[in-house]
Amino acid sequence: MLEGINMIGDLEWEVPIGYVPNMRVPGRFFLSRALAETLEEGAVRQLANVATLPGIVKHSLAMPDIHWGYGFPIGGVAAFDMTEGVISPGGVGFDINCGVRLITTPLTETDLAGKKRELIERLFAAVPTGVGAKSTLRVSNKELADIMVSGARWAVERGLGTGADLIRCEEEGAMPGADPGAVSAKARQRGLPQLGTLGAGNHFLEVQVVREIVDPEAAKVYGVTEGQVCFMVHCGSRGLGHQVATDHLRVLERALGKYGILLPDRQLACAPIDSPEGRAYYGAMVCAANYAWTNRQVIMHEARNVFAQMYGTDYDEMPLIYDVAHNVAKFERHDVDGASMEVCVHRKGATRAFGPNAPGIPREYAAVGQPVIIPGSMGTSSYLLHGTTTAMQKTWGSTCHGAGRVLSRSQAKKEVRGKELREQLAKKGILVRASHDSVLAEEAPEVYKPSHEVVRVVHEAGLSGIVARLDPLGVIKG
């Protein structure tokens, strides 16, 4: 482990006050010794920088997929006092409400045999992917304003989903507090043609099979069985969210002097939660988050249609299990030293993992806690977990969001060739379809920490419990 960091539990580490100047609280993160070998000093410094922000409560936290980002580290979680505290786009990221949803089907691998290639090609044709991809959906400015407020409900009301989809979605597919007036004309212009598009980078639509059930009781509650074919959607708020982040980062950066906030990193630009600038960012961020839920809803609808056409599966036989956001800031109530307190929780590359009977989770899941979906990197397993009471106590009800990178893009390109990787995966029965082979190299499995190790740590640390392991069968990527 890096110098200056103290071990305080088997999988828990503390970054003491003083690691960087002006820390208000200590930092804490969860990591195994194996993962500690790849921990970057820059990531710990960023975790410590977050601890300097006004109004931070208890700890600056990071999940085991912690790595070096900008502003907050990726995997970073922090809660801020609603009066004294701040809100920061650097604690959310440019891709507001990047998230994941998981859908089950009544099919098994045998049903796919011989037609898997066709399935992947048809999904690739149905969902626009990659740089420059535009939607076939035509959205007016008025509709976009509605989407930013109503979120996934907008899509369901147009027949692109069912009412049950909304219940099984974090925030029921729309956070309250949207302020379309705080979303610039530029952000709207970018959002109009991109609804229902996957984007690029690590975003994907993957066909998977439930390979192993680890917690039969929770799996039953979620309606997941071994051998079942599923699909997973991983994407965010596209250009609209990127522009909201860019616009408001500038506004907040300019307002720092007004609020007398001194920062170790300009990317941590922030403002008091209840200031004109803070409220405007929150209202715009909610709009982008709601757009992202609509986006994933539309993509899910397109994929369901492909399954329905190819296998005659009824639309209602493909229920959404859950949809989680892993880049967002939210107002939540948590127990702080025995008292209930409202705080603004930032999760940047971290997933909400509310435990049993927590408010805001679907009633049908109350007994086991909310489903947590952790996408694997390309060609590796993804996991379905459940939230826990320990997460509520230790991490503001949060857990990891993915594997976390270990190799840079330039190293990946040197070490991996996209075409060879595609062929290797095909030999393992995993079909990959992307707009260009070179994008595959950057997302190769060896570029990431092993997802099973990251998930093992959150499971053993009690931040969430493994329910099932899902293996990839085919994937479409930007």
Partner: protein, 135 residues
């Protein structure tokens, strides 16, 4: 080339070097489009940008963000960047071609330009800046 990609696990870190501030801005634009689309040709599409900011670093971020906005909405891939800077005021003529999926799909989509570690530094003979692009 007066830009090089350095190792960064999560994002793309580019080091841009130039004899003048104008060169830094011009090459930062080239670096960004290199990440996003790969090779590009000037096929007569021109756009003009005028911006003003409180310091050069903010101006650089605003300029790159503006390029990102134009390419996203207009589907133009830019390759030449004629930049003029007076103090912290910028005007630029940028030239390129329409996005062509057959030739421009090998790159990475940039979500934003980070302030983290962004500082234009004067070394002996040149200006240098490290820019993190979120992909």
């Amino acid at each position: 080339m007066s830009f090089e990609e350095l190792d960064h696990t999560a994002d793309v870190l580019m080091r841009v070097r130039g004899a003048t501030i104008t060169e830094i801005f011009s090459d930062a634009g080239r670096a960004m489009f290199h990440i996003m689309y790969g090779p590009c040709e000037d096929r007569g599409i021109v756009r003009q940008i005028s911006l003003e900011a409180e310091d050069l670093e903010s101006l650089l971020i605003d300029y790159l963000s503006e390029l990102l906005f134009i390419t996203d909405v207009e589907n133009i891939v830019f390759c030449t960047f004629e930049v003029d800077i007076q103090g912290t005021r910028l005007s630029a003529a940028i030239r390129g071609e329409p996005f062509d999926p057959a030739r421009h799909s090998a790159g990475a989509l940039i979500k934003g330009i980070s302030y983290f570690g962004l500082e234009i530094v004067k070394e002996e003979e040149a200006y240098v800046v490290d820019i993190i692009f979120d992909i």
